[in-house]
């Protein structure tokens, strides 16, 4: 649960959400490419990336002095599992309700 709160806290910022979206769409990118088009400074972008990294949503890879960033599948899966599990719970529950009503009320679809 704490991991989820961390993820959502990290994403409750327009810039960070858009950074993650860009990485999900385009794959691994250097910090410079992420700063482009956002009109923010290099230190600002690295602060955002640090927050995303600590929340487990973004991975960092170093090549020499260059840093490359990509989405962290584990962190994203955590969010997906959490949202899907609620839907799955009720969807499968309603399927069972339908089956139980069919059986007990003698209703055939």
């Amino acid at each position: 649960m704490t991991a989820l709160i961390k993820s959502f806290a990290a994403l409750s910022d327009e810039t960070r959400l858009s950074i993650l979206e860009q990485l999900m769409q385009q794959g691994e990118l250097p910090a410079g490419a992420l700063a482009q088009g956002r009109g923010i400074t290099a230190p600002a972008i690295s602060r955002h990336l640090k927050v995303l990294r600590e929340a487990g949503l973004v991975r960092q890879r170093a090549v020499g002095t260059k840093r490359y960033y990509s989405p962290n599948g584990d962190g994203l899966r955590l969010i997906a599992d959490w949202t899907i599990s609620r839907r799955t719970f009720w969807e499968t529950g309603l399927d069972r309700l339908e089956a139980a009503i069919q059986k007990d009320e003698g209703w055939l679809k």
């Binding site: 649960m1 949202t83 609620r86 839907r87 799955t88 719970f89 009720w90 969807e91 499968t92 529950g93 309603l94 399927d95 069972r96 309700l97 339908e98 089956a99 139980a100 009503i101 007990d104 009320e105 209703w107």
Partner: protein, 142 residues
Amino acid sequence: MTELHMTRDFPIPAERLFAWVSRPENLLKWWGPEGMHVPEGDLDFTRTGPWYSVMVNGDGQRFKVSGHVTHVSPPTSLGFTWGWHDNNDRRGAESHVTFAIAATPTGSRLTLDHRDLDDSEQSERHEQGWASTLRKLAALLD
């Protein structure tokens, strides 16, 4: 953000559908995903008050969820709070579920909403909880 909204139509009258989603003996027939059973619980949405259920899957894993039935208005709606417990029985974030039932030309429609409580609702609920605890305490002291 995490709102869940689903509807399902049934060819039975609203009163009967309400019984299916509120009475303990009926809830146990469909509660939870396929393959889960509910060996333990107090699953009664015909009255306001606390509820809980422990579900166990085929691998013997236990899943406990609990909450408070907040309103019961047969045959049109009922609502309850929802919180999963972790392995140490600590209850997690609270959310709110409502079942709304409306008559249709062919029977009735169930609308299910499951949404997170925002901060103001959370604190209001906590205040209500405290208020009722204090009332009980006051009654004991009388």
